[in-house]
């Protein structure tokens, strides 16, 4: 299968890339291409032009910027997987990337591409939401920073406008006694997951929850925060009963689809199971 005809540009700078996008409404950014190219081959997408941003330097990095860990949008999943700081301090992100696709896809696919593709059944969006990531978006007027909650707008739609480019994802270093985890359920490893949950916790005095974030994937058009479950756990010691109750509440707020991979009812049950597992795994990692 061959995609529909398109023009190809490999600009040397971000400014050129943004200009090219501005000139053609049907142009699309090409990063790793591990979702976009298959979609183009299946003719689910037919952009008139691709603006390949991988030929410009400087968007692939993981660096400390003081309060945050800053990850360049073109950092591959493989590079994220092997970054020690991410593994130690943002375990949910590591849990998610190690299970993305396969080695070949991880060698090519990028964190920014996955975020911008915004597939509700993809791994990273949910993990990024649970990690409260910030998204740095560059446009012709300059830069803006959008929190994860506002970044994912709809199925395959994000806050990044047509003539803007996501350049960096920032993860704020969590306070002491914090940890996170991401778990998912799929029948075969390479399938899209039927449900996925990311959890991040911070414990305070007497092991009570000082902060809780729960992100649900494949549970609606965008990854969702299980807000009521989070509020319920705040200030409580997260013992089995409380976790069980929070998991029920998380499923109440979810709206998963029914399809050939699994019914809505089944997915709701899996959201409960995975909410429990992700919270317990995150709690087991708190030092």
């Amino acid at each position: 299968m061959i995609p529909k005809r398109f023009d190809y540009y490999a600009p040397a700078s971000l400014d050129d890339a943004i200009r090219l996008l501005g000139e053609d409404e049907e142009a699309k950014v090409l990063a790793g291409g591990q979702s976009l190219l298959p979609m183009m081959k299946l003719r689910l997408a037919a952009p008139t032009a691709l603006v390949d941003i991988t030929k410009m330097a400087g968007l692939s990095y993981v660096r400390d910027d003081g309060d945050n860990l800053a990850i360049g949008a073109l950092t591959t999943h493989d590079a994220v997987e092997h970054d020690r700081t991410i593994k130690e301090r943002f375990a949910a992100i590591n849990d998610a990337v190690v299970r993305i696709g396969d080695q070949q896809v991880r060698n090519r696919g990028t964190i920014g591409g996955s975020a911008c593709h915004a597939d509700p059944a993809a791994d990273l969006p949910t993990a990024l939401l649970a990690s409260d990531a910030q998204f740095v978006i560059q446009g012709k007027e300059g830069q803006r920073v959008v929190p994860a909650r506002d970044f994912f707008v709809d199925v395959f739609a994000t806050a990044v406008a047509h003539d803007e480019i996501l350049t960096e994802i920032r993860l704020a270093y969590p306070p002491p006694r914090s940890a996170s985890a991401y778990v998912k359920h799929s029948l075969r490893e390479s399938d899209f997951a039927m449900a996925m949950v990311g959890a991040a916790v911070t414990l305070g005095d007497g092991n009570a929850c000082r902060d809780v974030r729960i992100g649900l994937g494949s549970a609606g058009p965008t990854p969702l925060r299980a807000t009521s479950a989070e509020q319920y756990l705040m200030g409580k010691v997260p013992e089995d009963d409380a976790i069980m109750k929070a998991a029920e509440m998380a499923a109440e707020g979810a709206d998963p689809p029914s399809d050939v991979h699994g019914s809505r009812e089944y997915r709701l049950e899996m959201i409960k199971v995975l909410t429990r597992r992700s919270l317990k795994l995150a709690l087991s990692r708190v030092k």
Binding site: I2, L37, L50, T54, D102, Q104, V105, N107, R108, S190
Partner: protein, 156 residues
């Protein structure tokens, strides 16, 4: 671009996939097209030392890159240790997935010269064998790991 150590060039439409350029443009038909949707891994090649599915990369994206295909593994009549290991351990049945599995196996061993069976299974998870001959594939990669480690010690 450089393919198997040789400089090559060509003019292609932007929509030409790397796998088509390799097979039809360069006549290197060892790299297979299986599913053509990014699942099966039969089209796996190395681009600048990293395995990719060449049906999910545009030829223009690989401009200036160094490509290694299955044809670049053997030196003359001497099989690469990983090819030798697949041959000796019956790591293939119909052979369709083999070019991709050799590349994924080699990439794994370059990163991890002594992988566990679990690590081998993870390393080849992007390659489907329609004969389901995975047990012997894992055995072959394990054998290749051993011979490549010993080869280095022995300086062969």
């Amino acid at each position: 671009m450089k393919v198997n150590g040789k400089q090559v060039s060509g003019n292609v439409e932007p929509r030409t996939l790397l796998v088509n350029f390799i097979r039809d443009g360069l006549n290197l038909t060892g790299t297979h097209v299986g599913c053509d949707t990014g699942h099966c891994g039969a089209c796996t090649v190395m681009v600048d030392g990293k395995t990719v599915k060449s049906c999910m990369v545009l030829a223009v994206q690989a401009q200036g890159a160094e490509i290694l295909t299955v044809e670049g593994l053997a030196e003359g009549d001497k099989l690469h240790p990983i090819q030798e290991a697949f041959w000796r351990n019956h790591g293939l049945q119909c052979g369709f997935c083999t070019p991709g599995l050799l590349m994924s196996g080699l990439y794994l061993l370059q990163k991890n010269p002594d992988p566990s069976d679990e690590e081998i299974r993870r390393g080849i998870e992007g390659n489907l064998c329609r004969c389901t001959g995975y047990v012997n594939v894992v055995k072959s990669v394990r054998a290749a790991a051993k011979s490549m480690r010993e080869g280095e010690v022995g300086g062969a």
